[in-house]
Amino acid sequence: MPVKRVDKTPMPQRDPGLRAHDFLEVNEGYDLQRAMFEAERCLRCQDAVCVEGCPVRIPIPEFIHAIAAGDIAKAASILRDANPLPAICGRVCPQESQCEERCHLSGRFTPAAIGHLERFVADWEREQPACEAAQRPWRDEKIAVVGSGPAGLVCAGQLADMGYSVTVYEALHAAGGVLRYGIPEFRLPNAVLDWEIEVLKQRGVEIVTNVIVGKTIALDDLLEKMGFAAIFIGTGAGLPKFLGIPGENLNGVYSANEFLTRINLMRAYDFPTADTPMKAGKRVAVIGAGNTAMDTVRSALRMGAEQGLIVYRRSETEMTARLEEYHHAIEEGVEFHWLTNPIEVLGNDDGWVTGLKCQVMELGEPDESGRARPVPVAGSEFVLPVDTVVLSIGTTPNPLLLSSTTGLETDRWGCLVADETDGRTTRARIYAGGDVVTGAATVILAAGAGKNAAAAIHRDLAAARQTAAG
């Protein structure tokens, strides 16, 4: 029977004073005892509304019940059937606005710790001996996946399980997309991602790095010359936005993508053992308040910054970062400058950043996004003395691939037009999903899109086979 306890079983975490100086994971994970203790809180509701909050509809009460019963293997198989990346989603999903927001326990109690439990099960699974023999494709059709972020990886895994021969092409030298170059190790250790990628290879997926589709190989050549029956495009939204304010090209101004890529993909924190240098500065202002901004400011602290500042033109209420990351950032000593709009980066004679000129904002009428529009307060300019400025104000899809071919429609934000339920684009045999379609969103939405597109590709190819068989 469910046990009434008001609060979530706390997630053991490393001391803020220690962890803010290294890249080891902050959360230490539940042990079996904690997981079962927490699992007992779930009411096993008939109308499990939590499931509706999950974009891939994980049967949440079922897997939690299996944990409560001590059958972790069963929990793992329930999870994996619904979500191919549980170790990752358990760590990075914005649970407070998805599954956990809907949980019946929310309100008087804190919700069931669905994310922590998901992570527990997936971490347990990773420690089990690998047993399955390598899977070989048994169908004739080959499918190409472009991009190895969560959308591409999940799509590839699903198609491999259906017997297709799948090749994933990745532009960078390592697979994983944002999970590799963006989200830092203190939230998502590389070992977790490496394991997921190994499992995919075991399932028969071939991953080819250092291939930029649209440059190294033309998209159309995949279909016409290389014999792929279908293509899934999961190239993400990797193009950084800049503000266009004066001083943005001073030394010490970075996009969050550059800042995080140097640290995560290139391991600049290990310089000079790793060859890529990085100057994170002593006082670092990060502009924006999403997950990327939190990751950036916390990475800056870990790179040796004495002060990390978040500068955001709206207020705390409009912040889009995961709640847990916000709390962790506060614990680690990040300063928050709400309702503060940067208008100019100031530099010295050598061209290095010395400050960020800002103006104070107040909230006005709601804008088209429904959020209160920030408006400047006259005469409120002031200067934050900083030596590094990182822009984390969003990204859009990279036009590189889409501009190299024809017939693929994009919308006015440069997003690829594709059906949200099956990933079909405006061209036959080409499917797409994840951030390239939605604009910068979440891991679970990308994973879900990859899964849906795999199903659609399978359906369409089966129909084509039938037609061919006449």
Partner: protein, 286 residues
Amino acid sequence: MARILKKRTLTPVTRLFVVEAPLIAAAARPGQFVITRVREDGERIPLTIADFDEAGGTITIVVQEVGVTTRLLGALEEGDDILDVVGPLGTAPEIPPGGHVVGVGGGFGAAALLSLMRELTSRGDRTTAIVGARAKDLLILTDELGAVCDSLELCTDDGSAGFKGLVTERLQQLIDGDGDGGTSPDRVLAIGPMPMMRAVAETTRGAGIETLVSMDPLMIDGTGMCGGCRVTVNGTVKFACVDGPFFDAHAVDFNEAVRRNKMYADLEHAAADRQATACQGAAGGA
């Protein structure tokens, strides 16, 4: 992984590699570049595709050793693999046909001119290459360049080969009508160290000769993802890895470009010194 099929030492610090890279060789256009990485945890560095052979499935790169990564690359031998090679990156320059194009090259830039000049010559443009170095034995690929240009002009600081003086001084003479055949350049293409490209820009500015320079900012991904390679051209911010590397020489903000390239100079020098000490240590111990 890309196998090194051939290695040639051009100067004590410059090596040429012919590398097996069939996909890149098939897709490359003159003026594009690759990004390479030579070891786990290594840096990603951009290198021009000096030449490519689609039939043979190879590309040629010429590396001038200036720091940790270029030295590690320079130490690789035939039969070794380069860990990562990705490309072709960047946009090939668009040069309207039919004019007299003068390519100016310094350092590895002479190699970078090779496939560009060959393409222009073979489509019927009149081509001149001006390449310079401190002394004769530091000039690279002069035979190869001479074979693909209508005329080749050598410049050395000490006069040990060709014209005694800077490439820009010779360029000025050509503009004044003193070249082979006497036609002054319609277009100039400069590839090499930033100070040289900047001097070329100043040389052609007055005469209003269309000039392209191949900018070489620090890069990471080479696909437009990091924005680290941004250069200001005519007041607008461009990403050199996708919009470039070729830009209008008279519109580029060179001050900014030079300053941004020095961003990590202190760290890079320290790392290079450490590497040099480590090498000496190893050699001494052997």
